[in-house]
């Protein structure tokens, strides 16, 4: 399961609300203790998708590399990616799945009419054909 501490959680929600009606994205840094993941820092990243960002996001690999470096510098780990679904439920869409990877937790925040509504965390499989729901607390 994945636990997001209050400070990073507040940062993620406000990032998603500020970016509304577009999708936001970012990295989650923290630590892993066995099956339990703890998110201690949320790192907002730029949505680099070139077209309409209301329904799409894209992370620059360079930014992810920088997030991984930042995590190492703080003795933390890069453990997940978050993004928002404006006016849409926090499911893991076909687009999400196809462009995901099996290494991280993917937290999706549903923002309805500009306000946080609900969130889910997902774990994609190796071939990006399915994603399992991961227990999420915040």
């Amino acid at each position: 399961m994945i636990r997001i501490e209050p400070e990073p959680w507040a940062a993620m929600v406000s990032h998603a609300r500020e970016t509304y009606p577009n999708e936001c994205c970012g990295a989650m840094l923290g630590s892993i203790d066995g099956e339990q993941k703890f998110v201690r820092v949320a790192m907002p990243l730029e949505n680099a998708f070139a077209g309409a960002q209301a329904t799409r996001y894209e992370l620059r690999p360079e930014d992810l590399l920088a997030a991984d470096k930042a995590a190492r510098a703080r003795q933390m780990d890069l453990i997940g990616i978050y993004h928002s679904h404006p006016d849409c439920d926090a499911y893991f869409s076909a687009t999400d799945l196809r462009n995901s990877c099996p290494w991280y937790s993917f937290v999706v925040l549903s923002i309805q009419k500009g306000e946080f509504h609900h969130a889910n965390s997902w774990l994609p499989n190796m071939d990006q054909t399915e994603a399992a729901k991961e227990e999420l607390s915040y």
Partner: protein, 489 residues
């Protein structure tokens, strides 16, 4: 030994180590050595077929190896290799708007598209919803216009202000003999509409300029550049970068062509490739240098293919790669294009944030200067100092004046047409012949239209010649005004 940084979730396969050293001369060797030592890691990074998984980007220090030498990128001991997944997503698969639904007639018309799984109904609807601007209805614009219309691109804009001319017909297959003298826009739009009445065609009868470009381009999803001059090329590039629209680029000369996609999702732009325009006149246009009539067909259709791929979102776009085509050798080559971090328009410290004066930037006169209306026939050329018009040249000949007439065109052009009494010295050889002339002599130089002869005049003046004049309008003006039996080409 190079250091490989291990992403958190993979450390369970490397004995909890966050970095592992592995030896090898190239990235492929290092990764193979690494996964040989930690076999469980292998299936995370490689597919069962041994290819690096599609979501894995490999970085050597801070550089993506795709932009270096891929797998074969050399690795030194001090180097660090990182594995970075590519991640994107979105709430919904983009659903084309309601109006893009296909009618029964359209389903029949596009059936050969619909039965390709990569296109299908969804892809054809994307084409129908797409808005593409073609800049130029000439050599490249002809195949582009015909095929993009046939393919069902829903809205096509055409920018052109030119008139169909006999010399266009050898390659601009969208225009027919009966169209000579008509506006290219009208001629092209008619042919396109006849192929596919479902397509909306918007005619922009203007010369694209810094004043109107953003306004015209903003309504389109992507731009296809079919222009033949540097000011417009830079203008289209900068406008596309500023508006964040892909620019499908093509260019042609004699037997060779180029194509690539600029300004696409952070890829390089035309200025990354050519920060500065060539000196005026160095690169001849099709009118000056000639072009194999079939060539724009090949290059224009490569552009059309890229445009359709971008709209459908399928395949590997021609981004970061300059495709070079050599018709004589019948070879395609590819050059890697990198985004220039110092690029003045798309780099990090950009200095160009709005459109500039592109004629001034390229050092060429603006043919659409104030007072010149588009599509107007060539104005009576003004005779400046150091120039002579064909009428005066003829009078000079008839009077039997003692002067030297030099033709600086190429021998194959001389064979097509020449002015009696002229001596042929191609421009390229001209500097070597300067010593043969008397600096006090009365010298008149011509070429086809006056561009090359202006350069030859400058060479002589620099050598101290006092009485050198350039024939305004060249042999084309001679044919128009003095001797119609001299063929124009």
């Amino acid at each position: 030994m190079a250091k490989v940084l291990i992403p958190t979730p993979l450390r369970q396969y490397t004995g909890k180590q966050d970095a592992v050293s592995a030896s090898g001369a190239t990235v492929a060797e290092v990764l193979n050595a690494l996964t040989a030592e930690y076999p469980d890691l292998r299936k995370q990074i490689f597919t069962p077929e041994g290819k690096v998984r599609s979501f894995v980007n490999v970085y050597l220090n801070d550089e993506d190896i795709r932009y270096l030498s891929k797998d074969a990128t050399p690795v030194a001991d001090a180097d660090t290799i990182s594995l970075v997944p590519s991640i994107a997503g979105g709430s919904t698969v983009t659903v084309p708007p309601e109006e893009a639904a296909l009618t029964k007639d359209e389903i029949l018309r596009y059936s050969r598209h619909l039965i390709i799984p990569e296109v299908g109904i969804e892809g054809q609807q994307k084409l129908k919803a797409a808005k593409v601007l073609l800049v130029g209805a000439g050599g490249l614009g002809a195949p582009l216009g015909l095929y993009l219309t046939a393919a069902g691109v829903g809205h096509i804009g055409l920018v052109d202000f030119d008139i169909v001319d006999f010399t266009n017909l050898q390659r601009q297959v969208i225009h027919s003999t009966a169209d000579v003298g008509r506006k290219k826009l009208d001629s092209a739009a008619e042919k396109m509409q006849a192929i596919n009445p479902n397509v909306k065609i918007t005619r922009h009868e203007v010369a694209l300029s810094s004043e109107n470009a953003l306004d015209i381009l903003k309504d389109y999803d992507l731009v296809v550049d079919g222009t033949d001059n540097f000011p417009t090329r830079y203008l289209v590039n900068d406008a596309c970068v500023l508006l964040n629209k892909p620019n499908v680029y093509g260019s042609i000369f004699r037997f060779e062509g180029q194509a690539t996609v600029f300004a696409y999702e952070g890829g390089p732009c035309y200025r990354c490739l050519y920060p500065e325009p060539p000196p005026p006149g160095l690169v001849p246009s099709c009118a000056e240098g000639g072009v194999l009539g079939i060539l724009p067909g090949t290059i224009g259709l490569i552009q059309a293919t890229e445009a359709v791929k971008l709209i459908l979102g399928i395949g590997e776009p021609l981004v970061g790669r300059l495709l070079l085509y050599d018709a004589l050798g019948m070879r395609f080559r590819e050059l890697k294009l990198r985004k220039n971090p110092e690029c003045p328009v798309c780099g990090e410290h950009r200095t160009i944030t709005k459109l500039i004066d592109y004629h001034q930037f390229c050092g060429v006169p603006n043919p659409q200067g104030p007072g010149v209306t588009p599509a107007a026939p060539a104005q009576e050329a003004k005779v400046n100092e150091g120039e002579i018009d064909v009428t005066e040249l003829k009078q000079k000949m008839d009077r039997g004046d003692n002067f030297v007439l030099i033709d600086v065109r190429e021998p194959h052009e001389y064979k097509i047409a020449s002015i009696p009494g002229s001596r042929l010295i191609p421009l390229g050889e001209f500097p070597r012949h300067v010593g043969e002339f008397d600096p006090e002599a009365d010298i008149v130089i011509h070429c086809k239209s006056g561009m090359r002869s202006a350069k030859a005049c400058a060479v002589l003046r620099q050598a101290g010649f006092q009485h050198v004049r350039n024939v305004v309008g060249g042999i084309l003006a001679w044919s128009d005004k003095i001797d119609p039996s001299v063929p124009k080409y």
